[in-house]
């Protein structure tokens, strides 16, 4: 598409990146078909092609109001549009630029600002989030049952094996997962241990994804740097890989290189982290795991981060199949479940509609269990699912 970005903006690296992305879009509309919000709302303004167009207008200097902002806010950043786009448009990068620009031009209401700030303050901090959850759990019996569903019970954290092998990998714990589902990482650690790999846990708080989605660049950079600092000594000592069991965090680590590309001090380190980061499936598919699942019926909910950001479509399903699960087909498998980081809080209506649709599709083939690969999807689905939802890594240990 033709573009008219102001000359001054074109001098900046953001401006150049935005221009290149905008020009790579040929306005074919293929992406709309893959977009969850376009599917629900049928409005060009709520689809990727229309969002790209709105960002183009915004960056070209057309007047914008909260209207445009609301259409950009409704985007889940699921990146299904990127997977669908034949022309290779890097939509998410453009959206980041667009969201940052509109945040400058359209101030949010006070309650909205407070809510966003509160989310950025609580979620990325394991301690604060843990305290809130403890409080909620204590009050749980007093609350109506509809609310109770949203407060997950405490789960056992499982035994972490001794570090004893010469092959070493890091498991980055992230922010909310150690509080909500502490058992996932340790089950991965035990599995790796049985196959001659020692996993070392790293607790560094949020990887930066939460603030990144809330367009808080400074805080994002700070979180990334804290994470890098926590990882660095082990990286220098020669670990093989950095694993995260939350697809959302994996997608974020994959972007470290890009986000800190202009940071004199950290760009090289960030690039190294991106190089070393792996999803568990990339490690596990190479291990000789026994088939033990004996035909249990599982429906896998492939997180958007896994499919669209990490581009690992079908890989977890293949491992589950290999170890003996009956992996059932899922209709509309590419449609986001609505979790999307803080989206389920900020856009609850759309998030719930997407969850209902996702669950209906997951139930269709009558699974015994639903598996997923991201903490966000797991808690979001579990709050409404009639069938238990588990991380696929926990399934590998079940028999």
């Amino acid at each position: 598409m033709q573009t008219w970005l102001p000359a001054e903006f074109m001098q900046t690296s953001e401006g150049k990146a935005a221009d290149a992305i905008l020009r790579s879009c040929v306005h074919c509309g293929f992406c709309n078909a893959a977009c969850p919000t376009y599917t629900l709302l049928g409005n060009e303004l709520d689809g990727p092609r229309g969002r790209i167009y709105q960002i183009k207008g915004l960056l070209e200097g057309s007047p914008v109001t909260a209207q445009t902002q609301s259409h950009l806010d409704r985007c889940l950043t699921c990146r299904a549009c990127e997977t669908a786009c034949p022309s290779g448009v890097q939509y998410a990068k453009l959206l980041d630029i667009g969201r940052a620009e509109i945040a400058k031009r359209v101030p949010r209401s006070v309650p909205q600002r407070l809510l966003r700030r509160a989310l950025r303050w609580i979620i990325p901090s394991t301690r604060r989030f843990g305290l809130m959850l403890m409080l909620a759990r204590a009050l749980r019996p007093l609350l109506p049952s509809a609310v109770q569903r949203y407060i997950p019970l405490a789960k056992p954290s499982g035994v972490w094996p001794q570090v004893r092998h010469s092959r070493r990998m890091l498991i980055l714990a992230g922010c909310v997962q150690p509080v909500l589902e502490p058992g996932i990482d340790s089950s991965l650690a035990r599995l790796l241990d049985r196959h001659g790999i020692s996993a070392v846990p790293v607790y560094a708080g949020c990887c930066g994804a939460v603030s990144h989605h809330l367009t808080a660049a400074e805080q994002t950079h700070a979180h990334i740097k804290t994470t890098i600092d926590a990882l660095w000594p082990s990286i220098e000592s020669g670990i093989e890989a950095i694993i995260t069991t939350a697809g959302g965090c994996g997608a974020m680590l994959r972007d470290y290189r890009h986000i800190l590309r202009e940071d004199a001090e950290y760009s090289a380190k960030a690039a190294r982290v991106t190089e070393l980061c792996r999803d568990p499936v990339q490690i596990i598919e190479a291990l000789p795991i026994d088939a033990a699942a004996k035909g249990r019926r599982v429906a896998f909910q492939a997180p958007c981060s896994l499919v669209n950001a990490l581009k690992l479509e079908g890989r977890v399903e293949a491992v589950l199949q290999r170890v003996g699960f009956d992996v059932l087909p899922v209709q509309e498998s590419a449609l986001c479940c609505g979790s999307a980081g803080t989206y389920s809080i900020l856009q609850a209506g759309l998030a719930n509609e997407l969850r209902e649709r996702k669950l209906k599709n997951l139930y269709l083939a009558e699974p015994e269990i639903i598996a997923t690969a991201n903490i966000g999807c797991l808690t979001h689905l579990n709050a409404a699912s009639q069938i238990p939802v588990a991380h696929w890594l926990s399934l590998l240990e079940m028999d």
């Binding site: 033709q2 790579s24 074919c28 509309g29 303004l45 914008v64 034949p86 022309s87 290779g88």
Partner: protein
């Protein structure tokens, strides 16, 4: 002529009573993304965008517009490549994507009733578990609407054997501009009286707004196999197309891609096509399990005899799907090679294929703009994609001039200016090239019979005689571009 303040106020008040706040867009900020369809070189802001959710709402909108004499441009998914859904600046853009329900799948009678906003591929996905599918498959099928398909009489890679949209539609419900609901055709193949159904297929939103479609479904073939044949010379590939058809074989699909098109598609889908091919042919054979392998071998033999240096048959269903995905994504994949492309849609007699392709190559060199070719070779429907850069001054004008030369070439060898993408706004001048004024007058009379005030999609598909006359004059004067009134990239 723009909408007067009083008409606009009356229009908004009355539409506001029919549509919810979110279904009625009026601010420039919200209208902007609706200013163009798949042909983004032509842009025009509408006065208002309406997003009705029910047939009753569509009807109410039409009645209001008819009474206030406000033009109406229907729009489906906005993937059209001829600017058919380009808004009227003094009119309503009537977007039908929210009417996206599949109303009935009548499996025993091999048909389905759908609302116009249902995506083409969504219908086949919904019917596949029942062993049925909807045959016309435009490359844009993932996104385009069935209403839009009917309005454009769209074709697709499988239309060589199964026909265009018109051959697969059994009935329509259409609203006239006055808001009268017409029920045309039905679940059977023939209906008494004039074949109005055929007239409406391809009417490009000029005669009425389609609000329901009954389509014919086909049983999924027992077996379908696709092969790719690679050639070191485009002319050889062109000849091979003729040889396959001459042997009495009607493939389910027969598509050609040239070097540039292959490069773009490979970048996206990674099928692993032979790298050195000047052209490839994709040929699908379908039918009974006992027949297909034998026929496929015959095609293979013909391809080799026609000079193919490699023939590869998709090993399984997944690979077959991948072949077609790459073919169907080729237009937008060309966006990887060039910021913009201008897609042509001429048809030619099949036996002139090799000659026309050679002449297009010469024209491409003459104008200094690359041309990628990807098209329905089996039915002689060319889609030369002219690669240009809209940010470079003069490039679009050059691309349009090259396009016009290509279309003139198509007409000169006995073909037409459009195979399946419609005339829209973009090929109006081509219509002057193709038809005599007496023929155009007949078209205009049909239009007037349905829409006496000329409110539905005005200025599209059929040029006024005046325009054609002026065009004659324009060619003498040169230098002046078509549609000076439109903002352009």
């Amino acid at each position: 002529m723009s909408l007067s303040k009083t008409t606009c106020a009356a229009l908004m008040t009355r539409l506001g009573k029919v549509l919810s706040k979110h279904a009625l867009l009026h601010d420039e900020e919200a209208l902007r993304p609706y200013e163009c369809d798949g042909l983004s070189a032509y842009r025009q802001l509408p006065a208002v965008v309406c997003l009705p959710e029910t047939v009753e709402q569509v009807q109410a909108v039409l009645r209001i517009c008819d009474e206030l004499q406000v033009p109406v441009v229907p729009r489906g998914a906005g993937t059209g490549l001829s600017g058919g859904a380009l808004p009227d600046h003094a009119g309503v853009l009537l977007v039908l994507t929210k009417l996206n329900r599949i109303l009935e799948i009548d499996a025993p009678n091999f048909c389905a009733r759908v609302e116009p906003g249902v995506r083409n591929l969504a219908l086949s996905e919904a019917t596949r578990p029942l062993g049925l599918y909807y045959a016309p498959d435009p490359s844009s099928q993932i996104a385009c609407s069935i209403g839009g398909n009917v309005a454009e009489n769209s074709g697709g890679v499988h239309c060589l054997k199964y026909g265009l949209t018109v051959h697969n539609v059994l009935g329509l419900k259409m609203l006239t501009i006055e808001g009268e609901l017409l029920d045309i055709g039905g679940k059977t193949l023939d209906a008494p009286g004039y074949d109005v159904l055929a007239l409406l297929c391809g009417s490009e939103g000029l005669l009425g707004v389609i609000v329901e479609i009954t389509v014919r479904l086909l049983p999924c073939p027992e077996c379908a196999q696709v092969m790719v044949a690679a050639f070191d010379d485009v002319a050889k590939a062109g000849a091979a197309v003729g040889n396959v058809i001459a042997a009495g074989i009607i493939p389910a699909g027969l598509e050609m891609m040239d070097k540039l098109a292959i490069r773009a598609a490979e970048d996206f889908v990674h099928v692993g096509y032979p790298k050195h091919a000047a052209a490839i042919l994709l040929c699908e054979v379908d039918g009974a399990r006992v027949e297909v392998p034998e026929e496929l071998q015959r095609v293979r033999q013909i391809m080799l005899e026609s000079g193919a240096f490699e023939v590869r048959i998709a090993t399984d269903e997944a690979e077959r799907a991948l072949f077609w995905k790459s073919r169907k994504a080729t237009f937008p994949a060309v966006g990887r090679l060039s910021p913009d492309y201008y897609c042509m849609d001429g048809t030619i007699p099949r036996h002139r294929l090799a000659e026309v392709l050679t002449r297009i190559e010469a024209l491409s060199e003459q104008f200094g703009l690359p041309v990628a070719n990807v098209f329905h070779a089996g039915d002689g429907n060319l889609h030369p994609l002219i690669l240009y850069d809209a940010n470079r001054e003069g490039d679009l004008t050059k691309a349009e001039a090259l396009g016009a030369c290509i279309l003139r070439l198509c007409v000169a060898v006995g073909g037409t200016i459009t195979g399946e993408h419609g005339v829209g706004i973009e090929k109006l001048d081509g219509m002057c090239m193709q038809f005599k004024s007496s023929e155009l007058s007949q078209f205009l009379r049909v239009k007037a019979a349905f829409d006496p005030q000329g409110l539905l999609n005005p200025g599209k598909a059929v040029p006024t005689l005046h325009r054609c006359a002026e065009l004659g004059a324009m060619h003498v004067h040169r230098g002046q571009v078509p549609f000076p009134e439109l903002e352009r990239f």
